[in-house]
Amino acid sequence: MTETKKQSRPTTNYDFHTDGSAVDADHVGHQFDAMEPPAEISTNPLRGGLRLDRAPAPAVMVIFGVTGDLTARKLMPALYDLAVGYPLPEGFSIVGVSRREWDDETFRNEMRGAVEKGARTPVTDESWQLFAQGLFYVPGNFDEESTYTTLRERLDVVDQERRAHGNRLFYLATSPDFYGPIIQHLGAAKIAARQDIYWNRRDSWSRIVVEKPFGQDVESARALNAEIGAVFSERQIYRIDHYLGKETVQNVLAFRFANTLFEPVWNRQYVDHVQITVAEAIGVEGRGGYYEGSGALRDMVQSHILQLVSVIAMEPPALFNGNALRDEKVKVLRAVVPPTGEQVNQRTVRGRYEAGHVGGRPVPAYRDEQEVSPQSRTETFAAMELNIDNWRWAGVPFYLRTGKRLPRRVTEIAIEFKQVPHLMFQAIGNLDLTPNVITMRIQPDEGIALKFAAKVPGPDTQLRPVRMDFLYGQSFGEAGPDAYERLLLDAMLGDPTLFARRDEVETAWSVMQPILDGWQDLPVPIYPYEAGTWGPSKADSLMRRDSRQWRRP
């Protein structure tokens, strides 16, 4: 049977990088949707009509770097909520791997503290005891073979005792430096099996979740992808960007593609420009060492903001599934025209915060933060204008900005529309009309607002802009599950829709690369801005040049 399938394998199964180099589509995952049913469809007749109509198979999740901050703050509380809130099946188990010389008992005790602090579901002795029965710990260095020998033996035992059926979800919660060694050892020790198109889905599965950063530039991203791809096929790789797990980001898709009202005006004919702001009030929060090697562009723009650009600008996918959605996102990214050469100076701004006040508290300058060089050349603020060269968006600038130590934490997308072609009220005079704006607030106060003109009551004609607000919290009550909860469940279900695909990551880096190069090669200054302000004034001139201005979010 396998032979027959192999003979029918397409020979033109290739996709292309933006630089024209070919990518094996088996790595990319194209075409497979039409060839086999989605992984999440259940054959269990009792699943029909249930709120959770998808259920993951029993599995063991192996977390590398389990003693780190990410596990304590995000992963373990989310896993406890999933297990005790019953989307996860009986026997679901977690094996933590890290360098500390812990044993199972120590691991369980440490994790209880983390879960009590971060989980939504109450922790009782009884519920914890039953959850903790599935927690195991393997100490060891990530670059030593013996660690993986021990891990394999432990997994075999857990499979037997906890009926995990050999299903494994690997999670890299380590420094990116360890991604390569871990993946190589997983392959060499035959803990992870490559599952390509010929994989029988009745067999046990293994998948790997990779945290960002997915590289530092195009080259390193490709190298990382090649390294992961040597052991895992693209269908097994889940690159996590927690922004896509946010309900409000997914609601952008619902807003655009589940309503007839907005899509007809969602194009260059009606939209004047788009603004995306991802502002943080916090500084580097003790992660100065990491941030020094990253900066605002790599940390935020290449990942989160380009994700937002793609969901705002993409064409409607035919299906809401892994490859249909991601195909459209990649198409948009490929149409993005980044500034190159001298344009980098004109269409991008980078900044670095100086001492100031945020929320009434004095805060130090970036260069005075711990683990930050006093001569640092890392930007804490980035603003830029991107253009998308396609039929829908040609001529519509996308203005992006992100920064640390801005006045408040806010992420929003604003679609600003053109003025009406003819204003019949013009003769009345004294009209102060601003254009229609649709604002999608991703966080906080998640919701959607529409600004439009209305007549002020009275005998004379006075028009004023008013705002119509839809607040998630006021319409649907409490927020849904945490983004990690959603994404971990999706990874266990084998649903990659909300994860970044290889070509998506590499294309995003391709968009950013000319800017990175320009900032390195050209004399592009890093403009200082006072902490607690909306960035350097140079960012304002970026828009003023086009007779536009940043919104005050």
Partner: protein, 408 residues
């Protein structure tokens, strides 16, 4: 953790009348809203007219979601509805109309009082977060029972336009109630609690009458079905692995333990019947004979799976839990499979917060776990029901099967 929420009336108007003019109610509502309108402040752009920080005046927002009609057929229901509305946090109706059919005679004086008591309120929900406070309307109409026949015609013009209309009937006695009959055609969704139908197996067939008229039947939301959600999830989860799914084809016995009578007068029998109906309809079983009452209490019925030439018999047992501890509508569900794919699968509520599951098959060692599943209270359930709009065909199929088990 959830932020704390409190809801209270902020403005109200009360009057009694023999002739109810719905226009007067609208006028009164408008008057109350205008009393709340604060000065508007500027928005982001020059001249922008936006209330601070959201429109509605003074950091307030008006709910704009749905109409809820709630009928209090007795004093207990009045309290339940009012307390539930005050505690609602997940999904607030724009306008709630509470109807209270009442005795119009003043018992002290023996005089016949006004035919209608009307109370119009603006409620405000305040959270500890910096989100704007949310305001919504509650219209309470106490009507002399002589006027019950007019109530539906009064309700229709009071419904806010372009919003879905929900009817919540928290009591059990809706069968043959003329007000229920009148309101049913004007709503999109009916919310009830079949547990309130009691332990009389016949009374549960009342739900069948509602579903009988398929073209006009409203979509039904049932608190009892909602309470069964975790049970159904956990039972289904046993059979997600494909090797365990084979046991679904060899089930020989289903035993459901339910509370005979709960403190509030409701019973677990409806939950037990719905669970049996759900399993049977999903697994394509049919009833050989209707339920047979057992001497020691409870019921027994033979079912048949339609697979194979002769089918396979399944024993259904509904066992009442009459112990003083019987606090939960369902106490325990046990599914036993035999033959080629044997196994035992148990879901059991251990207390008001937790459910214990355990399962065992020859290929899989016994595994137990505790899941957190706090019994939902009325405001949580109504909050969830108000967010659902579509029909639940799984529920309707379960009801049809369950009603088919009831002896004629």
């Amino acid at each position: 953790m959830a932020s704390s929420v409190s809801t209270k009336p902020i403005l109200a108007s009360v009057w009694q009348t023999d002739t109810l003019d719905t226009g007067a109610i609208h006028d009164e509502l408008n008057q109350l809203w205008s009393q709340l309108g604060g000065p508007l402040k500027g928005g982001d752009a020059p001249g922008e007219m936006v209330a601070e920080p959201n429109f509605g005046g003074g950091g307030l927002m008006r709910a704009n979601t749905l109409n809820l009609i709630a009928v209090a057929s007795d004093l207990r229901a009045v309290t339940l509805i009012q307390e539930t509305i005050a505690r609602l946090r997940d999904f607030l109706p724009s306008r709630t109309i509470i109807l209270i059919p009442q005795d119009g005679t003043d018992h002290e004086s023996g005089m016949i009082g006004p035919r209608y008591d009307v109370r119009v309120e603006l409620m405000e929900q305040v959270t500890e977060t910096d989100e704007p406070n949310l305001r919504f309307e509650v219209i309470t109409i106490g009507a002399d029972r002589r006027e019950t026949g007019n109530l539906a015609s009064l309700v229709t013009p009071l419904l806010a336009a372009d919003l879905p209309d929900f009817l919540w009937w928290p009591g059990g006695g809706f069968a043959d109630d003329p007000l229920f009959e009148d309101l049913l055609p004007i709503v999109d969704r009916l919310i009830l609690d079949t547990a309130q139908l009691g332990r009389d197996v016949q009374s549960i067939s009342a739900i069948r009458q509602i579903l009988a008229d398929e073209s006009n039947a409203p979509v039904i939301g049932d608190f009892t079905w909602l309470r069964l959600e975790p049970w159904r999830q956990l039972i289904a989860q046993f059979f997600d692995p494909e090797d365990v799914q084979r046991s679904l084809h060899t089930v020989e016995q289903v035993t459901i333990h339910y509370a005979e009578t709960r403190e509030d007068g409701s019973a677990g029998l409806a939950a037990a019947l719905l669970t049996a109906g759900w399993l049977a309809s999903r697994l394509d079983w049919e009833a050989i004979d209707p339920l047979e009452r057992q001497k020691r209490g409870g019921f027994w019925a033979p079912l048949r799976a339609k697979d194979g030439d002769r089918g396979r018999e399944i024993e259904l047992r509904l066992v009442p839990d009459t112990s003083p501890q019987a606090r939960f509508s369902l106490r325990r569900v046990k599914i036993v499979a035999a033959g080629a794919a044997p196994g035992a699968f148990v879901v059991e509520r251990t207390d008001s917060d937790d459910i214990l599951t355990s399962s065992e098959t020859p290929d899989n060692p016994e595994v137990s776990r505790m899941v957190y599943s706090r019994r939902p209270v009325s405001d949580e359930m109504i909050g969830q029901e108000l967010q659902r709009f579509g029909a639940d065909s799984t529920y309707e199929e379960a009801v049809r099967f369950a009603v088919g088990l009831i002896p004629s």
